[in-house]
Every structure is written in C-alpha cells, then in structure tokens.
C-alpha cells in the first residue's frame, strides 16, 4: 500500500542524475551519464525501499487496526485511535517510556562522565597507554545480546559473582528477577559497553584540539581544570554533539540485552519491546505497535534533525 505510494519518490533520483551545474560536470558523455545514474540510483533505491518506505509504512499503519497476517483488505482505518489507547489504556506504555528515559539519563551521565574522564587521563604521554586503551575498548566489540548472557553469570542469585563479592550468598539478591532493581543491573552492563565508545570519541576529540589554545590559556594563568572546562571542552562541541546523538539513539534502540534476559518483561519493558512484541511476541496488533514505532521515530528525529543541520550546514559553507 504505502510501498506503491512511495515508489515514484524512490525512483526520482535516477531520472535526472547528471544535471549539469557549474563547470564541473561539463563533458559527461552519454554512457558516463548512464553509469553515474546507476551508481547513484541503485544504492538509493535499495536504501529508500528498505529503510524509508517501511518508515512511512509505520506511520500509515499507526492509524489502522490490523493483525498483520491477513491481506491488506483486512486493514481497518481507525484514525488516531491507537494513540488514544496507548496514552490512556495500554498498561505497558508508560512504564516503557519511564524505563527508556531512565536508560537515556543513565547513559548520558555514567558512561559519558566515565568515558570523558578516562579520555582525559589517557590523553598524554603515558607508558602502557595502548594496553589500557585496548582493555577499555574491548567490550565494544561484543554484541549486547552476548553481554546479556555474560552478565547473567555475574547477577545470578545462586553463586553469582556479585552476591558472592558483596557477601550476600546466604541471603541472595535477585538482581535480574527483582523488578525494582533489574533495570539498573542491566544498565550497568549496557554502560560497561558504552563507556569504551564514549572514551574513544573523546580521545579523538581531545587530539584534534589545537595545543596552542591550551598553551595560551596556561600563559594567561589558567589552571589545568580551568583550561579544560573553559577552553578544551567548549572547543570539542562537535564531539559533544556526536556523543549526545549516539547516546540518545543507543537509548532508543536498546532491545537485545533485555530481550535476551527476559524478553522485556517484569520491570524491563522498553518501547522497542512493545513494537517487536507485535511480530514475534504474543500480541499481534500491528496498528498499536506501529503507533509506538512512530513515537520512537518522533523522539529520534528530535536529535537526528539538529544533528543533520549541524553537520551539513557546515558543509554548505565550505
């Protein structure tokens, strides 16, 4: 349905690719035009067809009631009914929103501060620096699903590492099963992986800061702390924006780790789980799931659009 509506849009860039502007693309021969059109057109069609057409599909389906299994003729268009239901009746929605917000706040505070601190500490002539960096980056290559498995060995109530270390073996805490604390237990595991990434971004950012700036600040009598907070940190604004975007998107995407642990139930509900439950879980309400997806989309566009603006407006000027 939406696929059909969107097709012309997808094909559009192929039509007039070698539009000549300025003197650069002057002598493009016929075959060159065709080759260039294909080189740009095929990837664009693939991308639009499998990423943006489904995105628009989510928006369209969010106004419908459908079980997803029958044909398109079974789709019943119900306007904003799904949204009304989600906001007023759906019991899992507000907990999921709350958990996503906690997820975001936790990631914005803990791994960002830890990553920045470690980057500042490592950004100097230091023996074994490479080894430290390798160790700290390492969790980054593990999938969140795998991290879910590995951390369960730490959290398990019978003989898990954490309870043993805390001396709670006789009166074990069920870190994963207790719905009051399991979100934070999972967040520690997620932050474990995220910190390395943030550290990497800040290390690159610190290296790109012009040393002359720091020297000038030092000459003016600024202390090391002052130099960092008044000079270095503000100069790293592009990196800060990337960190913010990466963290928000990561918080919205969070899924694998809770799904591996308990399929996103009992204190671990997330918006992403509410969407996926309609296709691989028991619920089969495509309309309601799509409405949650649109809410996710709206939030993510809130960071994607400013990020694009920041990135590409700079490019326009140069």
């Amino acid at each position: 349905m939406t696929a059909l509506q969107e097709k012309p849009k997808a094909v559009a860039p192929v039509g007039p690719p070698p539009r000549r502007r300025g003197k650069r693309a002057t002598a493009l021969a016929g075959t060159d035009k065709l080759v260039l059109g294909l080189m740009l057109g095929i990837p664009t069609i693939v991308h639009l067809m499998f990423v943006w057409v489904p995105t628009l599909g989510s928006i369209a389906l969010s106004f419908s009631r459908w079980n997803g299994i029958g044909g398109f003729e079974d789709i019943e268009w119900i306007g904003v009914g799904n949204y009304v239901e989600i906001f007023t009746e759906y019991p899992r929605f507000w907990p999921a929103v709350q958990h996503n917000l906690i997820w975001l706040a936790f990631l914005l505070v803990v791994p960002t501060c830890a990553g920045l601190l470690l980057a500042v500490l490592l950004d100097r002539e230091l023996k074994f620096s490479r080894i430290y960096q390798s160790a700290l980056y390492m969790p980054m290559v593990l999938s969140l699903a795998l991290i879910g498995f590995i951390w369960q060995l730490i959290y398990t109530p019978d003989g898990g590492l954490l309870n043993s270390l805390l001396g709670l073996s006789d009166n074990p805490v069920d870190w994963i099963g207790d719905s009051d604390i399991n979100l934070y237990a999972v967040l520690v595991a997620a932050a474990w992986r995220h910190t390395g990434y943030i550290m990497l971004l800040y290390l690159a950012g610190l290296k790109s800061v012009d040393p002359a700036l720091k020297e000038a600040a030092a000459l003016d009598g600024a202390s090391a702390t002052q130099t960092f907070f008044r000079v270095t940190f503000p100069v790293m604004k592009p990196v800060n924006i990337v960190v913010a975007v990466v963290t928000v998107i990561e918080a919205l995407r969070a899924f694998d780790i809770v799904y591996v642990i308990n399929k996103g139930r009992n204190g671990l509900e997330l918006l992403s789980v509410l969407v996926t439950d309609n296709i691989i879980g028991e619920a089969s309400r495509i309309g309601r799931g799509s409405a949650v997806a649109v809410i996710l989309l709206t939030i993510s566009l809130g960071v994607i659009i400013p990020y694009l603006y920041q990135t590409f407006s700079k490019e326009n000027r140069t």
Binding site: A3, M39, P43, H47, L136, P139, D158, L201
Partner: protein
C-alpha cells in the same frame, strides 16, 4: 624519514617524564579500571573452564578443583555451532562487500560531481542510518512476506525466512554510515586527480574503480572491520526476519542454546565465549582499523 629513525634511539628515554607520585597513582587507577572492565569476561572464562559438578557443589565463587576445555567441546557440539557460524558467514560476508561497494559508489558520485540533490541524498542516507530499527521493523516484516522469490533462492518463496532478506536489510541500513564516512574521505582527495583522468579520457567508472577506490583503501579497511563486527553482532534483524531456528545466525542462535540447557551456566559461558571469539580476534588483530573507523565517522561530522 630520518626523524622517525632517530626517535627510538636516544630521545625517548629523556622524553618520558619522571615517575612522580601523581603518575604512579594514575597508573594504579588505570590498571584497576582495566581490571574491572575485563572482569566480566574473565569471570566468564573462569566459569567456562570448570565442570558442572565442581561449581554445583562448591559454587562459582571458589577455587577450581580442575580446569577443563570440555565445556567448549560440548557447546560446540550440542549448540551445533559450526552450522550457525556458517549461517552467519553467509550473511556477513556478502552484506559487508555489497555495502562497501554500493556506498562507495554513492560517495563517489556525491563527492566528485555536484548535483542539486547531493546534500539531500547524503542527509537521507545519514538520517536513515540513525533511525532506531524498531521504526522500520514491522512494515519490513510484512513487506518481506509480499516479495516473492523463486524456490531455489528461498525455501519460503519470499524474503522472509531467507538469508537474502537479512543481507538486504543490512546493506540498506549500514549503507548510511559508510556513505557518510566515505564521502567525507573522498572530499579530501584533490579534485585535480579525477579532473586529470577525465581530461585523459577516463570514463566515470574508471575514475571510480581505478583511481578513487585504491586511494580509499585505509577507510575501506576501517569500515570493513567495523561493519564485520556490527553485522556479525546483529540480533534483531535475524530474530524478526528469520523464523526457522535452523537458519539463524550464531548471535541470535545463542537464544536457542540457553533453552536447551538452562541450568548449566558453565556451558552457556563457553558458548558465549565461542560466539564472541571471531569479533574478539578481529578486534585484537585490526584494532587500529576498528578505532580509526569509529573516529572517522565522528570527528569530521
């Protein structure tokens, strides 16, 4: 050249700052942080090397009586890991190659020629890569059931439940990041190079294939490393788009592993480590490329 040759001989020793208490404290702090970071993985290694009888009697927090590799052999066999590794291989390698190929084409077109829609195109790709997968997944799942394939390509006769479907979404989704990074890199290649080739009568395709791509080798290597880990680590796409447990890639198949032997944590630890192994190897061998790829995507953007 001489500068780099001279370096290791004399000045290095003088250059290194003297050991002060502050510096010693810094090292202690960093060593402890690294140990805490590595602890979960080391704990999994320790658990995987112990027998079920040992840990069920003495608990996990105890000195091992004996260490054995039996769990790995068992996980390998019971989990049918070779089969799932093969599934992953069939998805990861084609997806990786085609992603790099297609995104380098777009990046080439966008960075070497100026069209009206260049910026728009780049923005669409970049934004697409940042979307949460759940925004796409429901209609994609339905779309895949609509697209019919001949039986020799997919047993289900549609994109659902086929490796091809997973490959396609990886390509479409990962292209955003690669295009962004590659176009940034290609913009740093002097325009005069392709200009000269064009004057000499090189076709657009030759300018791309024989001139631009070889110059992009470092970025391509970095992106290949990154994309390998990302596609290998994918959990969601395969979980949703493949229903037949037998066709799952290894990361998603971990889910099946646990169902089979829920209580034997040692076995799960061994299985998890085996699944993590390829990415860990890639990381340790190609760490420079891995880190380089991630920084390329961020600092320039």
């Amino acid at each position: 050249m001489t500068a780099t040759l001279e370096r290791p001989s004399v000045p290095v020793k003088n250059k290194r700052p003297p050991i002060t208490p502050a510096r010693a404290a810094l090292h202690v702090f960093l060593v402890l942080t690294c140990l805490v970071t590595l602890a979960p993985l080391l704990w999994a290694v320790y658990a995987s090397l112990r027998t079920y009888d040992d840990t069920s009697v003495n608990g996990y927090f105890s000195i091992a009586k004996s260490l054995t590799l039996d769990n790995f052999a068992k996980a390998w066999e019971i989990g049918n890991l070779p089969h799932f590794y093969w599934n992953t291989f069939l998805i990861t390698i084609p997806a990786l190659i085609i992603t790099l190929l297609l995104s380098s084409m777009v990046a080439f077109g966008v960075s070497r020629f100026s069209f009206k829609f260049n910026l728009l195109l780049l923005m669409v790709f970049t934004a697409g890569n940042l979307l949460p997968q759940q925004v796409i997944v429901t209609p994609l799942w339905r779309l895949y059931r609509l697209i019919e394939l001949p039986a020799w390509m997919s047993a289900s006769e549609s994109l659902i439940d086929s490796a091809l479907g997973v490959i396609l979404i990886h390509i479409a989704f990962q292209m955003g990041f690669c295009t962004f990074v590659l176009s940034n890199y290609m913009k740093t290649i002097p325009y005069e190079l392709t200009e000269a080739a064009r004057v000499d009568g090189a076709s657009v395709f030759r300018q791309y294939w024989q001139l631009t791509l070889p110059l992009c080798r470092p970025v391509l290597a970095a992106l290949a490393t990154l994309e390998f880990t990302w596609i290998y680590n994918d959990f969601l796409w395969a979980l949703v788009l493949i229903q037949d447990g037998d066709k799952m890639p290894v990361t998603s198949a971990l889910q099946n592993l646990r169902g089979t032997f829920f209580t034997d944590n040692n076995l799960i630890a061994a299985g998890s480590l085996l699944v993590a192994l390829p990415t860990l190897v890639v990381f340790f061998v190609l760490q420079r490329q891995f880190v380089g790829g991630l920084t390329l995507g961020s600092t320039k953007g």
